[in-house]
Each structure stands twice: as C-alpha cells, then as structure tokens.
C-alpha cells in the first residue's frame, strides 16, 4: 500500500519542527528520508505514525485518509515502525518482545486469557512460531530467550525490525536501523530491508549511513530545518547542489564522494 504525505507540519513552542512536507512512498520500494541532525526526520515519523498530532497536512494510506488517527489505529491499518532511540521491552526476552508484535493477529478473549484456556494457549503457540521465524530472519534466532536488557545496541535495532515485521504490516517505517551496527551487521540489515521491500511492502527509511541509503533507496526525500529541500532518485540527489550545500556541507561532501564510489 502506498503512503502519501501531503503538506504535513507541526510546531513546538512556535518553532516549526516539520513544515509542509509532502512525498509519496510506494509499495515494493525503499523511500529514504535524509537530512542533517535536527532536520525533523524523527519528528516526521512521529507525525506519520500518530505519536504526535499534526497541526497541518494529511496522511493517506492507499488514498484513504488516516490523518489524526491514534498510533494503535494506524498500526491496525498496516503501519509499523522502529524507533531511533530504541523502544524495546527491556524486561522481556527477545522472543517475548517479538511475540508482543503479534498482538493484532491474536484472536483470544480475556476470559480464555485469565483462565489459561485453549484459545489463549493456541494463540500464544502460534505467535511463538511466527515470532521465532521473524527472529531468524533478523538473525537473532539464537538469542530468543535472552532478556532484551542484555542485548547489544545493534541487536536491539534488529529486534525492533523483527517485532515490526510480525505485525503483518504493509508499511514499515525504519528509524536508523543500522545505527550501532558494524560493517557486517549493516550489510545484513541492508539485505533484510531489501528483502522486505521485495515482498511488496512500503518501506520508509531514516538513515545516516549514506552508502546504505544510496544503495537501497528507490526514492530519497531530503529535509533541512523541517522543510523538504529536495526529492528524487539516488543519482539525482547525489548531484543536487542544494543538497550538497545545505545538507552535506563541507565535511559531508567527502562522505557523498565516498558514497559515489561504492
């Protein structure tokens, strides 16, 4: 399903953190949001996923208006996300973390849950299976029983992806999924995102690792100071003088250069 953002914005205490941003993310593609620190990328995610309420603009899923819906209602319409500064459930095991993602698929009732009756057990067993599959996909199968509080940053990033995947989402918002990962892990995450998009899901990505962005994005949106300053394919963005000037700056140019040689 496609995700259409139309002129969305929010202000905190008079400062426009996100201002009139529009773009469309299509199924089967990775759409990346880039921009310098404080450009409003995460705030944009929070607006889209219903954590904040937008003061202007619209969000549509497949043409259907979902602006202002609470986060859990958006999740029910197929939107899932990960978080920049990790929102795992540290007191649960990795497996339980991911099983929690199965919430919307679980068809149990309170009565069965309280008394430990058949439906509750069956749903739990089902969730366990799909959670294990998702963990395996994220390369975390061996860590299933480890408490999340004892996992590394990079592992937790992937745990969040696994958790988002089991929700059965069609739109996936990933906020710096490769942060804290070493080169090998970054590559794995890269492949995983590719595979997810290949399934036909709409993937929106915030990422600082330019190599990764350039490698996997079909479409890139550039934010600076809350505003969209450029949009287009990787090649286009790489050569956009505005982007280089406003976003990449002096030392960023070198990074872009490096990315160009991948």
């Amino acid at each position: 399903m496609s995700l259409e953002i139309d002129g969305i914005g929010i202000a905190f205490g008079g400062i426009k953190a996100v201002d009139d941003v529009s773009f469309t993310a299509r199924p089967g593609e990775v759409t990346s949001i880039i921009g310098p620190n404080g450009a409003g990328k995460t705030t944009l995610f929070n607006l889209v996923s219903g954590v904040y309420t937008a003061s202007s603009g619209r969000v549509r899923i497949d043409g259907q208006e979902v602006t202002g819906l609470p986060a859990h209602a958006l999740a029910r319409r197929g939107m899932a996300r990960t978080f920049q500064n990790l929102q795992v459930f540290p007191q649960m095991s990795a497996l339980d973390n991911v099983m929690t993602g199965c919430h919307m698929q679980e068809k149990s009732n309170l009565f069965a849950d309280l008394l430990g009756l058949g439906p509750a057990r069956r749903e739990t067993a089902k969730s366990r299976l799909s959670a294990m599959a998702a963990l395996a996909r994220a390369g975390l199968a061996e860590l299933a029983r480890r408490p999340a509080s004892e996992m590394s940053y990079g592992q937790l990033k992937r745990l969040e992806i696994a958790r988002a995947l089991v929700t059965g989402c069609t739109i996936l918002l990933l906020d710096e999924p490769a942060a804290g990962c070493n080169a090998v892990e970054t590559r794995e995450v890269d492949d995983l995102i590719h595979a997810i998009a290949a399934e036909g899901k709409t993937v929106v990505l915030i990422e600082h690792d330019m190599r990764m962005v350039m490698r996997i994005s079909a479409h890139i949106v550039v934010l600076d100071q809350g505003r969209k300053i450029a949009e287009g394919g990787p090649e286009e963005i790489r050569n956009n003088p505005h982007v280089i000037a406003a976003y990449l700056g002096a030392h960023g140019a070198a990074e872009a250069e490096a990315a160009a040689h991948v």
Partner: protein
C-alpha cells in the same frame, strides 16, 4: 501447551523462572495450574505447622493480603501503573458484603455485588484517571480512594460511620460443615482465604503469559512501542485497572466476612499505601512477590511488638532499607542472587 516458558514471571524476575516452566511444560502442566499447586502446597504446609487459631488468624490475613496485592501486581508490576487508592475498591467489596445482607440479600450475592460495583467504578473512572502519569496518577488515585473513604465514614446511616459496622452472615465454618468437616472458624477462613489467593495467583500468572498479558507488559516497558504494535493502550490500562480493582474487592469481601466487623479504615490512605508497599517490597513483577510482601508486612507487626515503642521506627527502617538495597523487591533480588550463584 508448548512451554510458555519465559513468560511465567513477567518483567524479568531472572532466568531461573524461565527454566522451571519449561520443565513443567514437558509434564504438560500450564503455568497457572502450577502456580495454583504451589500455593495450595503452601496453604497446606501452613495448616500442618500452625499450633493455634492465632496462627490461622495471621495466616488468613496473609492470604487475603496476598490476593489484594496480586491485583496490585497486575496493575503495577505488569502495566507499571501506580495506585494509591486501591484500598477504596477493597472497602467497596467489604462494605457491600456488610451492608447488603441487612437488606435481605444473602452474603455470597452481596459479595458478588460488591465486586461488580468495584469493577464498574474502576471501569468508569479508569479512563480519565489513567490518562495521567507519574505523580499525577498517584494523586488522582489517592483522591479517588479518599473520596470512597469519606463516603464510608460520613454516611453513617448506611455504613455505621467511622466506628464501622458489624458484618453478619456467612461463616466459612458452615461451608465445611456441608461436606462433613468440623473446623474452627479461624481454620475455616484460613482455608477459604488460601484457596482464593491460590486461584487469584493462578489467574494472574495465566494472564501474564497470554496475548492480553503481553500487551499489558509491553505498556510497562514502552507505551509508544506498544501503541505502534496496535495495542490500544488506553483500553489495556483500563482493563488492568478493572482487574486489579476486582482483586481488591474480593479480598475486601473476604476480610469483612472473616473479621465480622469493618471500619472505613479498610479504605483509608494508609491501607492503600500498605498494599502497594507489600507489592513493591516482595517484588511487584510476580505473584510470588505479592505473597512474600504480604507475608512480611502482615507477620512483621506481630513480631515487632517486641520493640514496643520503637515498632514504627523499625518498620519504617525496614521499608527504607529494603527499597534502597533491593529496588525490584525481595523475590527478584533473591532470584538474581540464585542465578548468579548458579552460573
């Protein structure tokens, strides 16, 4: 059921808890039933060693408190919500059980009515109150509890006022007579309270490992992440609030019947604090924490009479020390020690 393993003791009481249920799962016993059996054995053990009615009396209070505190475990340990007003729900259960028989309603029905009333009230006030967080939630629940306490103290025509009222009606002894057992009243109440606590614990453990329970525990750790997974956080919080109110009300009804007399102080601020303290002291993350907390804070004052005038200093000192040294409570602390020793 295939090993609900890691979920038996929610929110990280260590991996010891994770290992045991896996064994149980092989034998085909669910975690709820297993908890029930453990509690049943403990109730029975108590009865084996108790020399007199006095011990049964204290034992009864321990089980009733365990039941009430299990509700706090669901609310605080599972979902992470503080309530400083749950004694109010406790008192609603107790007073309904005391008042309604005076109007010709038999005790068991009165109990049910009280529990339903408490649950209904929790449902109605839960939504607005649970929008608050942290200390604001604390003052709002405190206020709710105080309001209930005030009504119970002022409406003397109904409740007997601050001096309290007699609870007439059912004696547990008669329940046992039906099946041909002759027990002293204190013993009979001990068994009833123990049974209720065991059922309550089993339900709470079942809940923890169920889809609903995972949703509740997710909110404990990250409200935002829970929402992003499609969990209706407001509804889930309200559900936990209602469930914990039901626990408190059942415990209150049992206390009213076992005591035969109640006063508004069962709904007072200090009783709310006591319930939360029991949960936190024992470890709010598991029903065993509830049991240990209830056991300590119920039995301790009986032992502290030795300290006479210094009783309060000792009690306060113990509270401060335990909470600074073992932040997650006794049961998780000991579980951690155990794990570390083993590995």
């Amino acid at each position: 059921m295939a090993g609900q393993g890691t979920t038996t003791v929610p929110n990280g009481a260590g991996q010891t808890a994770a290992a045991k249920p896996r064994r149980a799962a092989r034998r085909g016993i669910g975690p709820g039933l297993r908890t029930f059996l453990i509690f049943a054995v403990l109730v029975g053990l108590g009865a084996l060693i108790f020399p007199s009615s006095y011990f049964y009396r204290v034992g009864t209070l321990v089980w009733i408190n365990t039941l009430a505190v299990t509700g706090i475990v669901v609310l605080l340990g599972y979902v992470g919500l503080v309530s400083l007003g749950h004694a109010g729900f406790f008192a609603i259960g107790a007073y309904a059980t005391a008042i309604l028989p005076n109007y010709g309603i038999p005790s068991p029905l009165a109990m049910l009515a009280g529990v339903a009333l408490a649950g209904g009230l929790a449902l109605v006030v839960g939504r607005p109150i649970l929008k608050l967080s942290g200390y604001y939630l604390a003052i709002a629940t405190l206020g709710l509890g105080m309001l209930i306490w005030m009504v119970l103290s002022k409406e003397a025509w109904l409740t007997g006022g601050p001096d309290g009222m007699v609870v007439s009606g059912m004696n547990a002894r008669n329940l046992f007579k039906l099946v041909g057992l002759k027990l002293k009243s204190a013993e009979a109440w001990y068994w009833v309270a123990g049974f209720a606590a065991a059922i309550g614990a089993a339900i709470a453990v079942n809940l923890a490992g169920s889809p609903t329970g995972r949703a509740l525990r997710a909110i404990h750790d990250s409200d935002v992440a829970a929402r992003s997974l499609g969990i209706d956080v407001a509804r889930a919080k309200s559900l936990a609030f209602v469930i914990s109110a039901l626990y408190a009300a059942v415990a209150g009804a049992l206390l009213a019947l076992a005591n035969g007399y109640i006063t508004p102080e069962t709904g007072g601020f200090m009783h709310s604090v006591e319930m939360v303290t029991m949960a936190v002291l024992g470890g709010a993350s598991s029903v065993f924490g509830a049991l240990v907390g209830a056991l300590i804070l119920t039995a301790l004052p009986q032992l502290l009479t030795v300290f006479a005038d210094y009783e309060h200093m000792v009690l306060g000192g113990i509270m401060v020390l335990t909470m600074t040294l073992m932040r997650r409570g006794l049961v998780p602390f000991i579980a951690d020690l155990w794990t570390r020793r083993k590995s």
